[in-house]
């Protein structure tokens, strides 16, 4: 198939956003065959996708690996719940304040952490997040309600709601100007947020600002020598990704209005890192794919137990079945984290580019395979042309691997 006129990059982007929006909004339909078409899970897909997209703006573009992003997620959640308690059950102020507070929090932490890079940056952000987590459990209990988590109460003031429609003697549900944010309504609200977030991330990536962030990733020193002060750019990226995390956090509170400190734990930070690298660092769609895959498998795997496993491996002879089940049961249910850890390692070892890289390699392979078939028939120029890029890519990769050990020395300085 050949188009009359090749699309301009801007048109391609619009097509991408439109296709993406369509895919997200129709998730309840096409997720049905996967058994994932219920609102609770769909909401989680979408919310963590926002989190991962935001994280990718920092890690994917600038290369700064933050191990403390969950702190901003938690801050967004707490703020949103407080907003529900004090102001109104309407989700708009909750989301706005959640994003704002998370962004401010990120600005404060980023201002300090970005003075260092590399592992120091990772450790600094980790230290800040652990600090927030510990404080949320101890001194900040009046704000965070400690281990119980922050919950709504009937006696909450809800100033705006009371002012408009009088006091209620029950806890109203979160709403968007009267539309309840439970079930699929909540999902569609989050989905619209994800589409907006995706569009914004796309614009950032394509903008001169995005180019500058990628320049920071590829060679910060050279930028400095050319007279560019890089820290404000990095800080801006950090704050933006913090705001994304805040958005995700406040949406978590919108769909389920309570907030606990465990959302700030380092495991949560690690999870978003994993989502991003599983999908593909620095790609637009990768983090979203990563988030959906991980949340999907988390849901599927952790629901498995030995009984369902026996059902799955029913076709095997009894002795073999028991053996297989006892091994497989290590990886499901409670052991889901083992699968996660293994996945983490396998991805980092074998496909550092994540799912997107895997897809691209597959595409290359298919194309070159197709070209070979064609070449067998016609031996035309076309085959050589089609094989060219794939070969070049493979050569490039090989060179990168061979060149790598020489860099160790530089890294240590």
């Amino acid at each position: 198939m050949k188009l009359a006129r090749p699309l301009t990059p801007a048109q391609k982007d619009w097509l991408l956003v439109a296709g993406f929006a369509l895919a997200v909004l129709t998730m309840p339909v096409w997720m049905r065959p996967f058994g994932a078409a219920y609102p609770d899970l769909l909401q989680r897909f979408v919310i963590y996708a926002i989190f991962a997209v935001g994280f990718n703006i920092l890690f994917g573009l600038t290369g700064y690996l933050s191990f403390g992003h969950a702190a901003f997620l938690g801050a967004g959640s707490y703020t949103a719940v407080w907003c529900f308690k004090l102001l109104s059950m309407n989700v708009i102020p909750a989301v706005l304040f959640g994003v704002l507070v998370a962004a401010l929090f990120a600005a404060a932490i980023g201002y300090v952490s970005l003075r260092r890079s590399g592992i120091y940056f990772a450790i600094l952000t980790l230290a800040f997040a652990e600090m927030s987590y510990n404080l949320a459990y101890s001194v900040l209990t009046p704000i965070t309600n400690g281990e119980t988590g922050l919950q709504l109460r009937r006696a909450d003031p809800r100033v705006l709601d009371t002012w408009i429609s009088g006091p209620t003697d029950y806890i109203p549900s979160t709403n968007l100007f009267g539309i309840d944010m439970t079930g699929f309504n909540g999902f569609y609200f989050c989905a619209v947020m994800l589409i907006l977030a995706f569009y914004l991330a796309l614009r950032i990536t394509r903008s001169p600002f995005g180019t500058m962030l990628r320049a920071i990733r590829s060679n910060q020193n050279r930028l400095k020598y050319t007279g560019v002060h890089t820290r404000p750019y990095a800080l801006a990226a950090f704050v933006i990704s913090g705001a994304y995390a805040g958005l995700a956090g406040s949406l978590l509170a919108v769909t389920d209005p309570l907030a606990g400190a465990e959302r700030m734990q380092w495991t949560a930070s690690g999870e978003v890192v994993l989502m991003t690298i599983l999908g593909g660092v620095g790609t637009l769609l990768g983090p979203i794919l990563g988030a959906v895959v991980i949340k999907y498998f988390e849901n599927i795997f952790s629901a498995f137990n030995t009984q369902t496993l026996h059902g799955v491996f029913d076709f095997l002879p009894d002795g073999v079945e028991n053996g297989v089940v006892s091994i497989a049961s290590l990886f499901v249910g409670e052991g889901w984290h083992l699968t996660l850890g293994l996945m983490f390692m396998l991805v980092v070892i074998f496909v550092p580019g994540g799912i997107m890289e895997g897809l691209r390699r597959l595409g290359h392979w298919l194309r070159s395979a197709a070209a070979r078939v064609q070449g067998g028939e016609a031996r035309g120029m076309q085959a050589g042309e089609a094989r060219g890029p794939a070969l070049a890519a493979r050569h490039g990769r090989a060179r990168r691997h061979r060149g790598a050990p020489a860099r160790l020395h530089d890294l240590k300085r």
């Binding site: 003075r115 260092r116 800040f128 600090m131 001194v139 390692m345 790598a404």
Partner: protein
């Protein structure tokens, strides 16, 4: 005065654990240039070596209980007691210190396997990749232990002889007000001994000399015809053993649970950063310093002054150090300062 001495002592055992883990982290970073996020998990595995050894020694058979004569009663008697009587009982009592014998070979094999099988392939990759893969390894190790031993803490008692408290105050002529658990004192001395051994090994053996030279300038040592890589692999294994020993002996102080490694890892990283990346002396010094500082921050008087300080003091120190003196207390100039 008593209170201050007590807090000082309380900091020593925790500081010892921090120092041992940080020492291993620094060794690995200094030799292989790899940031090992799985080191806390290795500490945890060491602690579970103690648990496993204790279980191994107390494998029991069921025998008839002769003391009950009304009906047939049965009780479990460990084979060791059945075979060796009192000597077997003593062995079981000393399970934790003896578990070192199990921990050393296990940690050695584990260390060699991890370095040869995994870390080796990550020398040329970015620090971010190294962090990520060892982070994944930490999760895997942790989950394997959880699948095997369960999620609940498993107590591993100290030998009965060390169960009580030492009257440290009386030794120092301060009256009887200061008592300190024997086992913590043992742990402190043990950590000093291990640190001393590692330093002596690096300082007074030819092997250690080559390793130190390799840490300075790997290329030149390689050009002299020395297989530095092989030695660094052994250093990695040593660092893993040190973490394992630190964990095994820590079991009576903190009942091992599968999650303990990460708590120690985060703090140990902070220790390494404060001490100075790549400085062994700095790691040890900062380990004890932060352990003691943490225990002082836990004093009620201090907490009344600044609430919550005990939770964050270590991180605060790290942040201040990183901003004011990024090379750390004893770090060399120019090592990973950016």
């Amino acid at each position: 005065m008593d209170a201050i001495l007590l807090q000082f002592l309380n900091g020593l055992d925790k500081g010892g654990a921090y120092a041992l883990i940080a020492l291993g982290l620094t060794l690995i970073f200094g030799t292989l240039g790899v940031v090992n996020f799985a080191h806390g998990a290795l500490f945890m595995i060491g602690a579970f070596c103690a648990v496993a050894f204790h279980r191994l020694l107390t494998v029991s058979k069921v025998v008839k209980d002769e003391s009950i004569t009304f009906f047939d009663a049965y009780k479990e008697v460990p084979y060791l007691t059945a075979w060796f009587g009192d000597f077997g009982q003593t062995l079981i009592d000393y399970a934790v210190p003896l578990s070192i014998l199990l921990a050393i070979p296990i940690m050695l094999l584990l260390g060699l396997a991890i370095e040869r099988g995994l870390i080796r392939h990550f020398y040329g990759r970015s620090h971010a990749d190294q962090i990520l893969v060892t982070f994944g390894l930490a999760i895997v190790l942790q989950e394997i232990i959880k699948a095997w031993f369960g999620a609940n803490p498993i107590p591993a008692p100290a030998p009965a002889a060390f169960a009580g408290s030492a009257n440290v105050g009386a030794w120092l002529g301060l009256g009887g007000g200061v008592s300190y658990p024997w086992w913590r004192l043992v742990y402190f001395l043990f950590s000093l001994a291990v640190i001393g051994l590692v330093f002596a090994f690096l300082k007074y053996t030819t092997f250690g000399m080559v390793v130190r030279a390799g840490m300075r300038d790997r290329e030149t040592v390689g050009l002299l015809g020395i297989n530095i890589q092989k030695r660094f692999t052994i250093v990695f294994a040593i660092a893993v053993i040190v973490a394992g020993l630190a964990g095994a002996m820590y079991a009576p102080i903190l009942s091992p649970h599968y999650h303990m490694g990460m708590e120690f890892l985060v703090l140990s990283f902070v220790v390494v950063v404060v001490g100075g990346m790549g400085s062994l002396e700095g790691a040890v010094l900062a380990g004890f310093l932060l352990g003691i500082l943490q225990s002082f921050a836990a004093m009620n008087q201090v907490k009344a002054l600044i609430p919550g300080i005990d939770q964050v003091i270590i991180y605060l120190v790290a942040i201040v150090v990183l901003l004011v003196r990024p090379r750390g207390l004893m770090g060399r100039a120019g090592v990973m300062e950016s």
